[in-house]
Symmetry: D3
Subunit: 265 residues, 6 copies
């Protein structure tokens, strides 16, 4: 691919060092953690709103995932710039959406900052299909997808704020790739971990990924015990959150091989 046009331009931006790349192993661990546990651990570390607001999955049973953020930024379209001619047949600086899709790597999650504007599509099913072929773990926009029903049938999780067939060219211009963006109210830096389960999309700062995975695995295991205790008829006091007595009982339960707790008659 000719990437001549990918030369950086002369704008002024922050020069901060890239965070370390989150490993596939840590991503796999994070993918099996619930969003409620993630946000509890992030809250403890001072992050008040790491969850995207107003996006929902197109898939009937969305697959849990965790991947590295690859960002795409939209600005409003302008009639003389955003014409059909920008949908080029070869790599081109005027067609950054196609460039972005073909630049995705295994383990990436495409995050589109669509300025929460659902009047025109962020993209449609063919590009999403191509992203899945390239190994993307998910795609998230705070705007809308075209072909929502078709995308919802794919295995790749796709999250959005709406569905519309209106051409992206009507209202959106792809301004650049791999810059820090906002998406559905949350800051996303390239390389951050984007996490999805059946409920939400959560953003985990890259430098915290491993620490969060450690803390969440422990919490998730304990909360499964707590949930079972509540289903067995216990009141919440001392159980949720667990006091020392409950924690001891939890350790015994683990030691005993995690026997099924009785359900209240």
């Amino acid at each position: 691919m000719n990437q001549d046009f990918l030369a950086p331009d002369s704008h002024i931006t922050t020069g901060k060092p890239k965070p370390p790349r989150v490993s596939d192993a840590v991503l796999d661990r994070l993918a099996s953690i619930s969003s409620g546990t993630l946000t509890s651990q992030l809250f403890k570390r001072g992050y008040r709103q790491p969850v995207m607001v107003g996006v929902r999955p197109l898939n009937a049973r969305p697959r849990p995932f965790a991947g590295r953020a690859f960002t795409m930024r939209f600005i409003p379209a302008r009639e003389d710039i955003d014409t059909g001619a920008t949908v080029t047949m070869e790599p081109s600086p005027v067609n950054l959406q196609w460039v972005g899709v073909e630049a995705l790597s295994e383990g990436d999650v495409l995050v589109i900052d669509s300025r929460s504007d659902v009047r025109a599509a962020s993209m449609g099913d063919i590009l999403v299909s191509r992203m899945a072929m390239r190994g993307a773990r998910a795609v998230v926009t705070d705007g809308a997808f075209r072909d929502g029903a078709e995308i919802g049938e794919m295995e790749i999780p796709a999250w959005c704020a709406g569905i519309t067939a209106t051409s992206r060219l009507s209202f959106h211009h792809v301004a650049d790739l791999q810059v820090p963006v906002g998406c559905a109210g949350v800051a996303v830096y390239p390389g951050d971990v984007i996490h999805g389960d059946a409920n939400n999309i959560t953003v985990i700062p890259a430098h915290l990924a491993e620490e969060i995975a450690d803390a969440c695995e422990a919490q998730d295991d304990l909360e499964q015990y707590i949930a079972a205790r509540v289903r067995a008829g216990d009141a919440v006091w001392g159980i949720f959150p667990a006091n020392e007595k409950t924690k001891a009982e939890y350790r015994q339960w683990v030691a005993a091989g995690r026997p099924e707790l009785p359900t209240e008659p």
Copy 2:
């Protein structure tokens, strides 16, 4: 449970006598009425908007229900007050959400006035699970639930305006329980009947519960006949609403044992 902290404070409020408690028998009758019939009868009595706007069920097939409102009121969180320390392991005045859940009785519906703010969760699955154990008939918030997918799998109907994992502590403070509130645009007084079917949440003033049940049962029965007539090919004039001739035909149909009406070929 130590309820010392439940002593009333010194604020100024209305002193109006409590309405009579709506009986379980009336609740059961109301649970089987459709929301469309309820609102028609309430409109006749001058109530223009008894239906919550913008809430939806988490359950794929929400169970119809009617219960007595138990209210919980949120105000915005404040950083020095709404910390992890408020999630206590024992009953405490700083943890009114837990107190409220454990104060629910058989037949109650928890109604949360979350100021229509979906940026943070109203509560999560463990508390909802506990509420179901205590006999709550449903839970409604004009905010969001954490663990929406998990709650949607439970039998207890849960209605909300969104799903988010963001900690309640980030944006919500539980200010008090069992006061009159607004929820999704409708006034809710403790003890009012909260009604849900597959479509909506409707609020019925407690003192009207029995009168409404009477009127609605009659209307629902007639409308099933009307719907069948329309499906059989009749135009709406004189059928919907029913004129005297149609009402007579309805009575004959009832007398004849409600035979199936033909469907237009």
Copy 3:
């Protein structure tokens, strides 16, 4: 039906000639085209936003359709005008909603301009059922339906912005029928083609219906080939959109009887 009251009033309006009636044959062709292809062809002809924003189907698997727009316009209700007395048992100028439903013809789509106000229902299941009996292909409102779950079980596609049992009389007055309206952000002239698939409602100006059908059928066929190529592992460059080489390969594929393309291992 006595239509004396349907005499036109004295207001000032445009006198432009009606567009030609779109034939059933063209409607049938349009019904099988995807909304993404429609909007691409409309964009080429200068139409930037032909898709309704914020409406969704009540049906779990909405049926694709195309029909002729029959419009109904709402204004805010007024307490002395919009009373129960307007729900008449005979055709009447005060009950235009019933008049409208009974005036629908085979192939029509009822489009309700509800000013995007979901506080009260646009209509309920009995009228929708009657519309289906009269041959309506679909019903669309930018407001809410009453009895959404019941309507969602019907075969007729029903699209809306919400569900509420609140009586139409509380907030809506039916002002007139068959005038140009706005619905969910798009202009709809009586006789325009209203198109729905699983994703969207799109409005096609009547005079363009046949031209659009021709152009879209060709594009849809090519895009199925493109989608298959992408699923087979091709990058998007030169494939989507198709350059001359790809178009030639497409023609060969068609000539070869459209054999299945391999999926990447």
Copy 4:
């Protein structure tokens, strides 16, 4: 003026008799009443929201007025219809905005239903200037004006929800004139009284105009006495609203020639 094109079209509408024309004398009386008094009297008669929400005057000191509603209805623009060619140099059915302005009579108030869309102007200063020349008492839109600063310098009151220079043709089409409309949340029927003071625009049903004028004049006079009593140091109990004793004192004060009340030291 050639009004051939003003012939009514064939759409279906209500045939209800026009209300009697509100006289200039009644308009003049209403113009000097405060909006707070108007809404109190309308509330007593069952009208809950007669005040437009979200509109504000462009004039620094808006002139109080009352006039007869002349309505103009917008729908969304369509690219092939709403072109520069519709701004004709002669009366034409494609240029209803100009037709409407030239159809205004002494005592009218132009009310524009702009669907609360402020993205494009409802009209600009030249048309407003022409309306003033024709004797219009005011102009109200729930959209935006172009040339807001210039209009704000004129004597004619102009109320709107915003200011924008964007051409009306970009987003608005004038669909018809003198039909019932909604404006800023309130139903407006041609001929209704549109009232403005420094605070609000209020809509008074035409048939109630005289009755309301009578009731309001009495209330306004009493409330000026009440306000003076409060400024003199009285508590509100029994004064506002006035009990029998206060009413007697009011009558004595009137009989005494309305002497100035002392202001609390």
Copy 5:
């Protein structure tokens, strides 16, 4: 005044001890501090959003103030409860708005939680006039005032989100007084300091009032020097915020009697 009805009811609420009453002396000091300085000091202590969003002053030149919060809480109106009969001529539990106004003390600020609903007035000019007589320092609502122009002419600062003449009874019910509320997005506890200048309303937790006054007075003084330096032509680096060199120069300037700095030619 008979306050029998002011007896506390039986609802469940937090029992936390009241904060100490903020003295008039501290209020006076806070009243002369700018909101920008207040929020800087609050941010340093962890308070991210202490400023009400979306409210504006009715007064052309709003007077700076600081006072103790006296809260009034609204819920949605209900047709059978919120009738003209609640506007009583004597103190009554059904007329808490009048009770609240007459309960205000010197130095209070009335804060109305109107659920950000501007469709109906929070109150009108006569009650505001009475509040001023009782020594209230300001009144704030996140809803609307009736008689906005008249209130804007008074000396008492009045802040709101809109102006409407629509009767409070149409949409609002006064539920109680002196409870914690949310107003324009910020938590307000009775007794908190409500601060207003020409720009904003800021809420200062009562227990921090004195500490904040101390810190802000120092910062305000330094920033006046910084502003003068910038107007004299200095670049911001090292001046704003001030480094040690600049702070030393500031102290010299203070010692020199605060001479006027030159303005760049």
Copy 6:
């Protein structure tokens, strides 16, 4: 100033050549044109919405201006990044807001893409004061300013969507400078002409600046004649827009030295 940190990073962006710099002479001509004329000429060239929506001037009588866009882009803040430490005393990559202000040149207009979020300030009066010292012609944000009253007293035009004292650090992070942005719904490329009059902010693509200036000067002159004719009593037909006869009369009027037209008695 040490600009080492201003080295471009490695993100992918468009490489399109910069448009020619708009000269000061053209800016001066554009500054005296009305926004209504600008948008008419832009509409003729296909630009449908070049006007920012929802921003207003802080100045009581905003000065007309035209300048070259210098852009600043915000994303949501993150608690660990956006701390007080980023308000540095020396040029730094973590303090791009200060860097941007000090990088402004004579004739620039700072345009801040604040994602239309008014919960926190875009900046305050000291930075605006410094911008004025550096020769900036105006500053525009689709968010809010701190110190709005103070900024409104300055000569430099300042436009925004609100006023709040809440610290920028609470919700905004400055992500970069001089990239294409969206502001109040309009695309802004660095170097575009930003135009303001008493009514609006309009964006003119840089390559069209001179052509637009030419066309607008002619239109503005004609429209002043038209406005005078309307004030003299002419109907709009043939005058506005002007037909050939009117244009001839306009030329005669110009030739006659633009005598004052009579005002209708």
